[in-house]
Structure formats: C-alpha cells, structure tokens
C-alpha cells in the first residue's frame, strides 16, 4: 500500500480525480472585517433575520405542544428578539456607520446583553444567557451560510468532517466531483446523497481534513473506499485507465436501458428508482427505471426553511407523475426525525426511538393533510401511490387511512380531480411491523421493506456509529429470515411487496432477494443498470434454491460466503469489470 493512500468506507461507486476543497465550518469564529458595500451588508443582515424567523416559527408551530409552556415561551421570546426594534435599529446603524461585517456587529451588540446577564447573581439568569446565545448563533449561522454558498467552487472534491442535510442543499447547487469525509457510514445521509447524485464518495477517513490540504490533487475510488493524496504520475495513469474501463462498462450497461428486468426463466421484477432530489429525475429516466419506488419527500423539499404549502407540493408531485407516466410514482410522506431533516431544536435523547415518521405526522395532522391533499390532486393520472414510514401498529395504519379518506372527501366537495382508488402502502422497517406483516398487508395495497432501519432496529446497531457499524450486517441470518417472513406474509395478506434501502442496491444480495419472491425493487438510479444486468442473468428457480439454502445458515459468514461463491460461479464478467 502506498503511503499516500488512505482507506475508508466505500460509500458511492466511481472514480474521480480532482482538486481538494476543504469545507470547514467555523461558525463560532466571527471575523472583524470591513465591508465595501453597506447596502449589501444590510441586505444580508435582513435576509438572515428573515431566515432565522422562518426557522423559529416552523419549530414553534410544530413542536409547541411537545415543548411545554416554558420552552415554548422561550421560543416566542426568541422570535420577538428578531423583531426587537431597538436591537435591530442599533445593529443596522452600526453596520452603516462602522462599515463592518454584519456578523461582527451582531456578535458585538448581542454579546453586550450577555455580559450584563453575567453580572447577575441569579442562577436562572445564566439559563437566559444561553437563550440569547442561541439566537445570536442562529443569526450568525444564517449570515455565514450565505457566504459559504458563494465560496464553494465547482468541479472540486469536497473534503469535510461530516455532511449534514443542510450542506447537501448547498452542494447540490454547485458541481461536486467527489466527497471525502472524516465520519459517516454506508447509510449516512452523505452516502445516500452521493449515490443518488452518482458522485464517488469515500467516507469515514478519520483524519481526512488534516491530511488533505486545500488544492491538493486527490483521487477518490468510491468502489474500493480508497483515496490517494497527491498521486504519483504512475498512480494517475493507473486510475485514468480504470476510469476509461468503467466508462466502457457503463456504455455496455446502457444498452440494457430499454430491456426489462426479467430472469432467464421469465420472472419479471419491476425495477424502480429512489428519488431524493428533483434533479435526479432525468437520470432516473435515462437509466431505465420503471418509475420510483421511494420518493423521499423530506429530502426533495428544503424543510430547513419551512414546510412547502399544498400548491408547491402539488406542482412537484404532478411534475414527477407526468414525467414518469405511465410508470408508477411511489411517494413516501415526510419521514422526519431520527437522522432525517428535523429542526435541531427539538432535542431527543434517543431520536431513533423517538418522534419520527408517521408518529410525527399523526401529531401534526394539518401538515400531514396538506401533503395528502397535494398527493391526491397529483394522482389524477392514476400513477401515484402513497407510502407511510415507520409504521409500528395497525392503529397507525387505520388512522392514516382515515385521514386520507377525509382528504378525499374534502377534494370531492371542492370538485377536484384525484384517483379515488389510489394505492396506499406502508414501509416495514421496524421489527414489530415485520412480526405483524400479514395483518398489516391485509390493510394496505403494498408493502415496501426499508432495510436500512429494519436492520438497524433488528440488530440494535446504530448504523451511523462507527464503533459498532461493523455489526450492521445485511446477511445476518436474523435479517434474511425476517425479510423472508415479511415477503411471505405480505403475499398471504395479498399485498405487493417491494424492497427499498441500501440492501436492494447490493449486487451480492440480488440473487437472494429475487429468490425470496419480491415483486419489485427500488434502488438509486445509478445502480439500476447493474441490478438489471444481474437479474437478467439469474435463473429464478435456482435463486429460490439459493434462498432456501441461505435460510438454513446460522451465521453471517456462512450466508455471505455462499452468496460470494454463487456470484463467482455466475457473474465472472461483473467481477472483472467492476472490481
């Protein structure tokens, strides 16, 4: 191994050679700079206040019932601070008079009050100091965010500690050639986004931001999880050659675009795409997806600012439905919480076991109804299906269906068109739902297995925690037995069954999943041609035997060894080209 090579987690396949851009967030550092254009500075300040207000109002509206009166009061006071005529007046006056950066003035002005509070002997005043600190940091953060945006250059390889959903929004607006992070695993937000945008990514290189300097040439090998810093001429040559071979392989795969995903003995699997950002749509169509199996609505809208209204949602959904017609568009309602986009201010000790998915929506019925109404209206072409996340009980299914019926009634009264037989489905991603799969299947039209969360909850492993992430195993016998049970039960309950989640995109798992009898699979657009190629070279009867065999194994090792063996026997081509 060369000494300029670092190993991390292979998060999104592909090879990129480019210039490193170190993206470091130093929001705590406020620099005393002079500004040339005072009008621009004032405008930036006003924008940051507006954005902060939006953020706070959203949190306030959603979480007020859950926060308790005292915390709600603090939020209200924070919103009032943003409207404080004296404070705002002083800040603007100083920006104009002193021609200094807004963040410096904001920091100086608000810190004055904090210092006054420090003089107080009362202990509860210290708490108040934190509240004021919060609002100050929020304004400064929003001032800086704008700055970052204009600073990121195109065509760079982003090197950063971690990528948050907010960063992604930022990055999606500029062309990024690759991602390298210090922390983050296979199923982290960073990995999902990199895959959906088809950008090579290597994550979890602990000291990437220390070892790589701004402007260094780096190679990202997203398939092997390797990065090379300041490569030698020899290394560059090797990787350029490899890029070329990959391109040729992609061209080969592209020939499959219009062909169906059907096994050698004629079993058809519907291959759909996951969609995280609207920009992916063209790519999804080009790669031959038969619609979408999972639209992550919490990703496609920038929920950091505010929840989109019915009209905006409708426009987005109808656009998807029309562009993908006659294919099916399965849309998952907002899955907020856990590691997903959420107002950072509602802190839960254990978010994965907390207020997320359908729980959040049922507690915020207006928000839920707005989305359902938008989806129903967009279903007029009869190609939209609605999917609910994080279902753990029959009650949640029934309550959700009730709300959907209620929305239908409203639309009928308003003479608005929609698909009255719209299909309703659920995600099975919690062990309780897996156990109850048959009964749940009887209530819904389709079931989609979300493997990321299911594996995490089943094995009690936090996929984002590097210390234990090696225990997150797709081929753990408990996982494959549970998958089999869900698929079998769904069929008994007469629901169509599909799988979305990273496991569906693992080509090693494809023969096993096909053998289990899935009707469809949903993967990132980039993976579709690969999975299709595998499906087209599988014999369904053989795959069923393989599955049966795997279900008898007692260890992860036995399962993965058997699958690797099967792979070597059947897909030599794939191994040589891709690996």
């Amino acid at each position: 191994m060369s000494n300029n090579l670092l190993k991390g987690i292979a998060a999104a396949a592909g090879i990129s050679i480019g210039t490193a851009y170190l993206y470091e967030k130093q929001i705590e550092v406020v620099e005393d700079e002079f500004v040339d254009n005072v009008d621009e500075a004032i405008e930036a300040f006003e924008k940051s206040i507006k954005k902060s207000k939006k953020e706070l109002n959203k949190i306030f509206n959603l979480a007020v019932d859950k926060m308790g009166e005292q915390r709600a009061g603090i939020f209200e006071a924070q919103v009032m601070i943003l409207d404080d005529p004296i404070l705002m007046g002083n800040i603007k006056k100083r920006i104009i008079e002193e021609k200094r950066s807004p963040e410096f003035i904001v920091d100086a002005e608000i810190s004055k009050y904090q210092e006054l509070l420090s003089l107080s002997k009362e202990s509860y005043m210290k708490e108040r100091k934190h509240d004021i600190e919060d609002i100050k940091n929020r304004i400064i953060r929003n001032l800086k965010k704008k700055k970052w945006h204009s600073q990121i250059e195109s065509d760079v390889i982003v090197v950063t500690n971690n990528i948050t959903p907010a960063d992604t929004v930022l990055f999606s607006k500029v062309r990024v050639k690759g991602y390298i992070t210090n922390v983050g695993g296979l199923t982290s937000h960073a990995a999902i986004v990199a895959r959906s945008l088809n950008i090579p990514a290597v994550l979890g290189i602990h000291d990437a931001t220390i070892k790589i300097k701004n402007g260094d040439t780096v190679i990202v090998d997203g398939l092997h999880g390797e990065i090379i810093i300041s490569p030698t001429e020899e290394q560059l040559e090797y990787y350029r050659e490899k890029c070329k071979r990959l391109e040729e392989f992609d061209t080969e795969l592209a020939k499959l675009t219009d062909k169906p995903a059907v096994t050698l003995d004629g079993r058809k699997i519907i291959l759909r795409a996951n969609l995280d950002i609207v920009e992916e749509l063209e790519y999804i169509i080009r790669n031959g997806a038969e619609g979408t199996g999972l639209v992550r609505t919490e990703q496609i809208f920038n929920l950091e600012d505010e929840f989109p209204d019915e009209e905006r949602q409708y426009q987005t959904y109808i656009d998807l439905a029309e562009k993908l017609y006659p294919h099916i568009v399965i849309v998952r309602v907002f899955d907020i919480g856990g590691d997903k986009v959420f107002p950072v201010d509602v802190k839960e000790p254990n978010p994965f076991l907390g207020w997320r998915g359908i729980r959040f929506l049922l507690d915020n019925e207006n928000l839920f109804k707005t989305q359902i109404r938008a989806l129903l209206r967009a279903s007029a072409h009869k190609n939209i299906k609605i999917m609910m996340p994080m279902i753990t009980s029959l009650q949640e299914i029934r309550k959700s269906k009730e709300i959907i019926e209620c929305c239908k009634e409203e639309l009928r009264n308003e003479n608005k068109e929609f698909d009255s037989n719209i299909n309703i489905g659920i995600m099975i991603e919690v062990p309780s739902a897996a156990v109850m799969a048959e009964e749940f299947a009887e209530e819904v039209d389709f079931i989609s297995i979300g493997t990321n969360d299911l594996i995490q909850y089943l094995l009690a492993v936090d996929r984002g925690n590097e210390i234990v992430s090696s225990l997150y195993q797709e081929f753990h016998p408990a996982v494959i037995r549970t998958l089999y049970k869900i698929i079998h039960s769904s069929k008994l309950g007469e629901a169509k069954v599909s799988i979305c989640g990273e496991m569906a995109a693992d080509i090693l798992a494809t023969p096993l999943l096909v053998g289990m009898g899935l009707d469809s699979m949903s993967v990132s657009a980039a993976t579709i041609p690969h999975i299709k190629k595998i499906i087209r070279s599988i014999n369904y009867e053989e795959a069923k035997k393989l599955t049966k065999e795997c279900l008898t194994y007692k260890t992860e090792k036995e399962v993965s060894n058997r699958l690797q063996e099967y792979f070597k026997e059947n897909f030599v081509d794939e191994l040589e080209n891709v690996f």
Binding site: E69, Q70, G73, I74, E76, A77, M80, I81, D83, D84, P85, I86, L87, I110, Y113, L116, L117, S120, K121, E122, Y124, M125, R128, D131, I132
Partner: protein, 88 residues
C-alpha cells in the same frame, strides 16, 4: 414624563414570559418607556433589554413614560406588575 415605582411580587420574578408580555403591552403605545434598575436604563420596548433585567421577587424597579399617551401606557404596565404578571 411620568415616573412610577413598582415591586416584583410573583415568586418566579421577571422571567421570559412576563418580559415578553411587558414588551407586547408597551408596543401598543407611542410613548417612550424605560425601566430603571441598579443604575441600568433599559428600553421597555426591547425584549432583549427587558430579558436582561435580573429582577427577582421583591426587586424594586422605576418605570418612566414619556410621550403623548404616557398616562394610558403607565396604567396598563403598572397594572400588569400589580397583578404579579398573572402568576399569583
């Protein structure tokens, strides 16, 4: 200009919620409104200012009002203090 002395009588003192209410009441009037305590002069229409006042139970504050509707403003604010911020 009119001035008036008030005492904080509720147990929790001038915490965030009453601070917000005071500012909201003050905003309804055109006159200037200041709160004076321990040599500090805080603009009563500034929430961040009023929040900064460390006024526990028993604290004495001086309020001053100056402007066209000073009488009405004074009456409304003083009444709110006398009610112990609706926390008695």
């Amino acid at each position: 200009m009119i001035e008036k002395e008030v005492v904080i009588i509720n147990n929790a003192g001038l915490h965030t919620r009453p601070a917000a209410t005071i500012v909201k009441i003050a905003a309804k009037y055109k006159c200037e409104f200041f709160i004076h305590k321990d040599g500090m002069h805080i603009n009563g229409k500034s929430i961040i200012g009023v929040m900064t006042l460390a006024a526990e139970k028993g604290s004495k504050l001086k309020l001053s009002f100056d402007g066209i509707d000073q009488e009405e403003a004074c009456e409304a604010i003083v009444k709110y203090f006398e009610k112990g911020f609706d926390e008695l």
